[in-house]
């Protein structure tokens, strides 16, 4: 897989030894405190557990077939798809652009960075409350601003309006996560070879071209990593939706994550809830593998796992 493998077998053995040693702590912890309990949890997905019966019957994949017939699941999937599409692209692109803008500001950029990062720091509860005010139908800031600029007809219930609720929550989520992307990209930009950029400028390349052909390739692993993390996050997203709308109104913002949680912890349908959570994982796997392969292919040096 790694095309820049060093030659001598000695080096390869030394690398393998060090590699195993370095990976061991992570592997052990993950195995003990994640894989093991997860395996236990998966047991629930293949039984029909009503919360009381100590000998629940084994039902195989019945929980999963139930999902196929559950209209809420399909609606949730649709919402997840929308979330993934917008919620991945927006912070990625905006994060990159702002990071590039900040890159040249040098020392003064610290305060900008703080400003952009603060949304990411705020606890979910606070975000939910404050954005609830911004979106309030009657006196909320967003509607007030719309009225002030003459767009009074665009005012709506936002979080209470089933047509706009999901997008409103996405907007908040993007607002909260752009700071993350900015910080990561700025860190990545540290290693970019500025000579190449200067050379490209001299050659007459425009800003967009410089970005696409000089900068982006150099930070590609990190760019794709952020894309991966954000995209996978879109499958399991739960907290912010739960805080802002609880999946409502009447299920308009229900996603797999909130539905799984409600089933497991509210409706006492632990088996179904666990199966839904596993569905999230199953759906995210191909994307993870795909993006990982892409990252391997597109990174300049091809050294990754």
């Amino acid at each position: 897989m790694a095309s820049t493998d060093s030659g001598p077998a000695v080096t390869r053995r030394a690398q393998a030894r060090l590699g195993i040693a370095l990976v061991a702590p992570a592997a052990i912890l993950v195995l003990l405190f994640f894989i093991l309990p997860l395996a236990n949890a998966m047991y629930f997905a293949v039984i029909r557990f009503d919360g009381v019966n100590p000998n629940p019957p084994f039902v195989g994949l019945a929980n999963f077939t139930q999902m196929l017939g559950d209209p809420v699941v399909w609606r949730a999937l649709g919402n997840n798809a929308i979330w993934i599409a917008i919620g991945t692209a927006a912070p990625l692109l905006m994060g990159l652009v702002i990071a590039l803008l900040l890159w040249n500001v040098g020392r003064g950029s610290l305060w900008y960075r703080v400003a952009f990062f603060i949304p990411f720091i705020l606890p979910g509860v606070a975000i939910g409350v404050v954005w609830g005010w911004i979106y309030d139908p009657i006196r909320g800031w967003l509607n007030e601003v719309l009225r002030m600029v003459g767009l009074g007809e665009a005012t709506t219930g936002w979080l209470g309006n089933p047509d706009t609720a999901l997008y409103a929550v996405i907007a908040t989520a993007v607002w909260a996560s752009v700071g993350f992307a900015i910080v990561v990209f700025l860190a990545a930009l540290q290693s970019v070879d500025a000579d190449l950029i200067d050379a490209a400028t001299i050659d007459g390349a425009g800003a967009v071209q410089r970005t696409r052909h000089v900068v982006l390739p150099q930070i590609m692993p990190i760019f794709l990593m952020v894309a991966t993390v954000t995209l996978i996050g879109g499958f399991s997203v739960f907290d912010i939706i739960f805080v802002m709308t609880g999946g409502g109104p009447a299920g308009a913002t229900e996603v797999l994550g909130t539905y799984a949680y409600s089933n497991a912890f509210q409706f006492n349908r632990i088996s179904y809830g666990t199966a839904l959570a596993l569905l999230i994982t199953i759906l995210a796997v191909p994307f993870t593998i795909g993006l990982n392969r892409l990252q391997r292919r597109m990174s300049l040096y091809r050294t990754g796992a």
Binding site: N40, I47, N53, G132, G160, A250, Q266, I270
Partner: protein, 435 residues
Amino acid sequence: MPRPGALRFGAALSTVAFVAAACTGVPSGPSSAADPSAGADGGGEATGALRFLVEAPEDPAQLDPLREQITVFEGENPGITVELEAVPLDTLRTTLQPQLRSGEGPDVFNWGSGPAFGGAFAEAGLLYDLTDAYEQYEWPIYGFAKDQVTFDGKIMGVPGEMETIGLYYNVDLFKELGIDEPTTLEELTAAADTVKEAGIIPIAVHDAEGWQGGHLLSMALSSRVGGEGMEALLNGEASWDSPDVVAALQTWQDFNEAGYLPPTPTGVDYDTGNSLFFSGEAAMLPNGSWLVNDIPGVDFEVGYIPFPAPDGPGIFTAGLGSGPYISANTEHPEAALEFVNYLVSSEYGRFMVEELTVIPPFPVDTDDLEISPLYAQVLEDTSSFAGGEGEFGANIDVRSTELFNEAMWNGVQGILTGQMTPEEAAQAMEAAPVE
């Protein structure tokens, strides 16, 4: 986030432990391998401290008076210490059950009454049977409240505080606009029209969190079908997609379409809805007796009436909050019983009324307490019908399962946003599994 009224929590994860234990070979009794870490005392096996876990109260400032009461109890019962911990609702939902089952949980804890809460825990064997204690201590709990914590013929806990749901209204504003207190549905509608013409929001309905839908339906329906009608519905003798239910749901749809409600009520959350009423921007507010605590800060006179029926003044609906249960795994049953005994004493009852501003599920002499007139009236109304005089309706969500509640809450939100018709909502409720 959905924070249902009547202080609810989600349904239990009950016997997860059995199964998980089967998988991992973990013993699920109190004599487990875990030991409390160094630092602040935890567990309290050796010292005899009771762990008392409550849900974070409406007003966090109530925690200190609560601690004082606990100190009083400790003074009267040397040898028993009680540690209080308050945890928010939603977190309690996920953490309480495994902790109880593992033996690491609290000894005494506040939890909801009714089948979805106390009932679920009772079925899972997590509760200490209090039937004998009731006889021994002669706790004077109201009959209907006691029923809500009786499962399988055994009394498994103490009911929570009583709560009613009704309509608050701005008395001064009504006088100004020349409106009398509405005593029928028609009068309410007329009043709303008058208010609307004056440029004020007639009814500050808030349904962003979703659980308010249960209250909206409960108050309209209870007044329409009466106490017995509600019992029939809750017992399954009458069906939820009957005309009365649809009519009650229809009322709210009609109100919404007539513009009596704030724009997009599903976008208005609990606190914002209340603030509309407090600031005078709305004339009426459907809410519960727990709000009485917040009223004194307001600068106009406030009245509290039951939601009117088509043909008369309607009845208040009653529900129960969270009351103390004892963990089946407790290591200090005697101390726990003494503590619970204290929690239903008249001394504590007066504390509940005065400091916590809630209505105890047992009679309390309130003559010399300093409370607002509105509160006194609410207390009087409630204790009279709880004691058996007069009719009262039911807060549906306390008496039903979470699956049903979800259908109900979604139904009301659906109606208010035009995603569902009242018939569809009623059908969804009827179709919801009852277990």
